[in-house]
Symmetry: C2
Subunit: 768 residues, 2 copies
């Protein structure tokens, strides 16, 4: 653990006391979002200290100049990045002629921030003594509406404490923003119009190159002690900026409040010519409703999300806070409403990783959304990839593959690859496996086969074709091999026969064949339609099978384990426990060659295969592999601890499982990786959820039957979670000695508990 | 072969006829240089067609912004690049008010370019009909003085042919230049002063960041039919530009000539405050001498170079032209006068590879300079690395090595690494071996051991320390291994146990130990001095030996060959002959992953080891390895054909040797790799020399004795070369049935010819 300033609390993230060294960290941790937009917890008023300003709109990106020293054939021309969007939250404040700036106050007392996860709002309060000796109390509250997701709201209260004071508010819109990670201070937005109308203002801007149109808007009003003032204002307008200026003399003890509504309308949802008029309508609507009514809607909407997605833990506030923080952030990032969107690794909390789609979605996020939302949400995530199939085929063509073989990009915004490191872009091809597995997982969980004949099979065929062509025949081994790959452990590059990659490749082909046969038998018209499209011959199919049936898996007789890759045993096998702590994290301390020749594993690799295909292996096999690989694992990927927590729990190693759980659930709150200032690890948060539900809860689907083998860390009194299983809600409450099941649905549900069949009837409690 | 427009000629490179599509190619091929500066064969007058302008000053570089998508620990902060220097050759010409521009003439006849290699000058002549119907004849001659290497000279003759004409000359200096390979149009030069004095002009400029000071200067005068005119001129001066304007009415048939001297004085050679006054003095000196006297000096100086370095081939003009072109360009690039300089892969002919020092110098160029120059030249090249030893130690430290281990950079200008691809920068570590081998080679050839106790041993110790620390112990094999390297074949990255790398590593340790022991015994005071400096204990020495004595070399029992690397036999072993020609060159057609998993070899790798350590292996072993590896070799590196030519000759495969010879010697003239427009392959030109002297001549040093096993391609009547062996000049003339030896020296020389001892007495011909 590397920081410990967040107050433990069951429902809120709370910071007390102002520390300029924690501003960027808190800007990440207190981020808010509503699926359509999100923002770091930047102050509304100007702050001249170190800060990382960020406001983001879902699906709005920019193809930045590719930065590569040495070009390789096949690299994408551009590198997509999430764009910092125009600022609508800004409210500068001046007190008796001095700008309020927390970096320059004489004294700041009672500083407190709260991110209320139960109700979905962010607040801040403090007492400031300015350089001019005026003392004020400030309270702000802000949220991004789940109900009207193009809008957010802010209330900003100022109360002079030691004297009457002249208070000026300058709420503004600013489209002159840039990215923190920009090369060479490029701008990414062209401003088209800056307008205002009464107490509303609008900036129409357009991203360069991608030409996303966005109207950023605001509406503001002033009130004194809760009564709206009909106040004159000055309008200051510049190229890419508009500001309203309000001035008021406020008597000591009175509270002047600026209320601001604002947000974005984007041309993904509206005709671009109507963005400003839509914004105007929306502002009219919410201002008629008012801040508090909109906040009440917000509370209701979050209550509905929690009703379905909450996990409770009794007896361990930090663990409780951790899991709720993870669930809250996931829901802030992606709500599944729009199949054009996906889940970026940093969500709306930072710029790193370009905000794009990674295999994280399929490998980590889909189980969470499957179990906590309507199944349409997971299906939307699958369709996102179906919609990109043609581009995945083009991508494979660029790398020399033929005949409809599909390689999904490592990183993407619109289906095109937008990453350019050869060892990742060209070689971390296991991502294709996760995309096929997600289809299997969706069907396994929901029982809804319809997606596969409708859309999924084409994806499976493209992927199977890729694996068939990617394998080569080794005369030496008389088997097929897959050379030159990077596995999930990115601390090895260009290795041969990565077990995970080979295993998932074989599985992809087998699964595609199985589904082709089923669809031929059960969905003949779909079968004909698909075959006409993909032109798959029996000869090609049997070539696939030849590869799948005779693929090589590196195995050590000595250790009785599958090898991570051909050369693994050549390494100096010094465990992490024996590695000098001063060398950690190795990705910050070591040059890349040293990392590559070391045995250290960034995240589950062979064990990732044992996680996905758990039922292909015995528990003894899992234990042997876990005991071999985990000691070399440095868990320097946010995606690592969750898988290990699940497996440790399965192996009955509850202390270890608990340690991994804390690490995954409080990764950002406690800043394990020294990087929370860059943003949160959103996609790994779904892994946290898995580590409770699949790890401690032991939830699996076995032949279509929901199955549990509940375990509980000794630190906890009880924990509970709910899952949506085939449109019924099952609540599972695990105590130290028993587990309770409760079903909110209409039909009795047979489940397995520790491999014994238990029937749960609707609305009756079953204790096991 | 991909182009064929250069006229075969024994001594000159000749182009006839003007073709805008060949301009960039000819700009490279007709480049001139004098070791201190060089330039592409750009026209003096403005040319508005496609052109690649380039003028370069030895040792003047710029640390450009590193371009990397994903930063890796240990990468250098900057990427050094050769800088395009201010233009001093420019002479714009206007005829009857129309600018002469070969891209826009109505007609160009009798266009001819000649690079006279015997005398070291470049000429151009043509008859042009301008848009205004005026016909002129133009003749130009240009050279960069070997004798006064800060100066070059140009004569530019214009003769109106069909009418009297108004001729204007605008000789200029321009410091407002940029690089062809610049990112984002950056400028690299700050201009400090622009001055003129009578008919001389000076621009003082300074490179940004590196702060190299350069005075670019010119002096011009006009003559009519050979008589100097005392002509008024106008001076036009701008920020970074100065131009003289001469105007003359010239009667049809008369010839107006502009003579221009110009060049650079640099602060590597002079106090920076005196650069302009030195330039002034030099201009005064050469203008007093005059163009033709300076040209006479030039002819004499080149005659001296050829006297020593020439290789003659009778019966094959193209082969003759090829080898002279290679020898000429090498001498234009590096003359060994300045130990601060080295040999960039493109010399002064282009920007690619940043003009920096690669292992090419040690592996390819040193044998050429050893045999064709005084041994001080090769020693200067060794000292270049000695001077960089501290930085090589720092470089190794950045990668986690300790205790004085040295890793020389892959690419450097000043000793610091300036390349950033992890698979090259961090993993192509065999370069360290070439640097040690050059020391061995120097001693073997010259018999001068003094360099090793004086300087070389420290380098050898730093390198041995690196190899000792870089090897790791494999419990599996019970041997030391070297994991994660890139061998000379850059078409495999991050492989384990590259045979060449392992072999050179072991040799480096053994050679360092051998020299430590010899110096301890024979040079006790040097020994004490060095040991005090490097702090080498007996314990460390025995650790080195443990690694060298128990290092693993991958070997295939089945094929009875050493394997290029552990995984080589897992590849699909389809030979180049069976590869579809449409896929060639693979580095332009295939994505990187596909290249990496293919068996195709860019340049000699295992065979490079057999080349350097030929006497460690039998001819049968060489033959077996040659037969195994050459069929997979695509020779897509300029450094590839020469080694294979030498080995094919040794194996008596003269047809193959001859084919490889043509490919290496005419690589640029015939543009085998479709890239001559980017510049010439200077360092591989030394390989061409080796393929004649070591290949066909079979020259070796065996236990200090010069040895030959002459062979001659059937296409040749005879060929001859000279070598400087320990301060005596031996001329070797190989005919189809006999070989003649002639010694220019003072002492009889025992040599081996086909392993038989032959004594050559000074100034008497011996025929074998």
């Amino acid at each position: 653990m590397n920081q410990d300033y967040i107050k433990p609390d069951n429902w809120s993230i709370i910071e007390e006391g102002f520390d300029i060294n924690k501003v960027k960290s808190s800007e990440s941790l207190f981020s808010i979002g509503n699926g359509a937009m999100g923002q770091r917890a930047n102050f509304e008023e100007h702050y001249s200290g170190p800060t990382f300003q960020g406001s983001y709109i879902a699906g709005v990106y920019y193809p930045d100049k590719t930065r590569v020293g040495w070009w390789k054939n096949g690299y994408p021309e551009y590198f997509a990045k999430v764009l910092n969007a125009p600022n609508w939250i800004g409210i500068n404040v001046s007190i008796d002629g001095e700008a309020l700036d927390l970096f320059n106050c004489l004294k700041i007392e009672n500083f407190r921030r709260e991110l209320n996860m139960k109700e979905g709002w962010l607040s801040r309060s403090f007492k400031a003594t300015l350089q001019n000796q005026t003392q004020i109390n400030v309270e702000t509250k802000r949220f991004l509406s789940l109900d009207i997701d193009e809008i957010g709201a802010i209330e900003y209260h100022v109360t002079p404490l030691n004297k009457d004071a002249e208070i000026q508010f300058y709420p503004y819109l600013d489209s002159g923003i840039t990215n923190e990670d920009t090369n060479w201070d490029d701008k990414f937005w062209d401003v088209l119009t800056v307008e205002h109308d009464d107490n509303q203002a609008f900036i129409m801007s357009r991203t360069m190159k991608t030409h996303f149109y966005v109207c950023t808007s605001m509406q503001t009003y002033l009130s004194l002690n809760g009564t709206i003032l009909n106040q004159d204002k000055i309008v200051e307008e510049r190229d890419n900026y508009i500001e309203f200026q309000y001035q008021n003399k406020v008597i000591k003890g009175d509270t002047l409040t600026l209320t601001k509504f604002g947000g974005y309308t984007v041309d993904r949802n509206h005709d671009k010519k109507e963005l400003c008029s839509v914004a105007k309508r929306t502002l009219n609507e919410v201002s008629k409703l008012g801040f508090h009514a909109l906040l009440d809607l917000q509370k209701n909407s979050w209550a509905k999300i929690w009703e379905m997605a909450d996990i409770t833990i009794e007896g361990d506030v930090k663990a409780q806070q951790g899991i709720r923080f993870n669930i809250f952030q996931l829901n802030q990032t992606y709500l599944g409403k729009d199949a054009q969107l996906n889940i970026g690794p940093k969500g709306f909390t930072g710029e790193k990783y370009g905000g794009s789609t990674y295999w994280d979605t399929e490998a980590y996020c889909i189980p969470f959304y499957l179990a906590t939302k309507d199944q349409k949400v997971a299906r939307n995530l699958l369709e996102y990839r179906y919609r990109h199939l043609d581009r995945a085929i083009e991508n494979a063509q660029k790398l020399g593959f033929k005949n409809g073989a599909a390689l999904y990009p490592m990183v993407t915004m619109n289906g095109e690859e937008c990453h350019n490191e050869w060892e990742i872009t060209f070689e971390e091809i296991h991502r294709n496996g996760a995309i096929a597995f997600a289809i299997y997982n969706y069907h396994r969980y929901t029982g809804d086969y319809s997606y596969i004949p409708e859309k999924g099979l084409e994806v499976l065929i493209g992927i199977a074709r890729f694996w068939h062509q990617r394998a080569t025949f080794s005369t030496l081994r008389n088997q097929y091999v897959i050379l030159g790959v990077t596995g999930p452990n990115e601390y090895e590059n260009n290795v041969n026969n990565n077990f995970y990659t080979n295993y998932v490749a074989k599985w992809c082909i087998d699964y595609a064949v199985e589904n082709i046969e089923r669809i031929e038998a059960e969905y003949p018209s779909d079968f004909i339609r698909i075959m006409n499209k993909v032109k798959l011959s029996k000869a090609e199919l049997s070539q696939w099978k030849a590869v799948a049936d005779n693929l090589y898996f590196p195995f050590s007789e000595e250790h009785n384990i599958y090898l991570q890759q051909d050369g693994f045993l050549d390494k100096e096998l010094i465990t992490v426990a024996d590695l000098d702590q001063s060398q950690r994290p190795i990705n910050q301390k070591w040059s890349w060659d040293r990392i590559l020749r070391s045995p250290y594993i960034k995240q589950a690799d062979t064990l990732q295969g044992f996680y996905l295909f758990e039922d292909h292996f015995t528990t003894e096999e899992l234990e042997r592999h876990f005991d071999f690989y985990e000691p070399f694992t440095v868990h320097e990927s946010s995606l690592s601890p969750c898988v290990h927590s699940i497996q440790a729990a399965k192996l009955g190693r509850m202390e270890q499982a608990y340690t991994f759980y804390l690490r995954t659930s409080r990764l950002d709150l406690d800043d394990y990786n020294h990087e929370v200032h860059e943003g949160l690890h959103i996609t790994s948060m779904a892994g946290t959820w898995m580590s409770i539900v699949e790890g401690f809860g032991g939830m699996r689907i076995k032949n279509g039957v929901l199955s549990f083998s509940p375990k509980i860390p000794k630190q906890w009194k009880t924990f509970s979670f709910k899952i949506n299983f085939r449109n019924q809600i099952l609540k599972v409450n695990v105590c130290q000695n028993e587990t309770h099941f409760e079903l909110d649905g209409t039909a009795a549900l047979n489940i397995l508990v520790n491999d014994k069949l238990v029937t749960i009837h609707p609305n009756s409690l079953v204790t096991v």
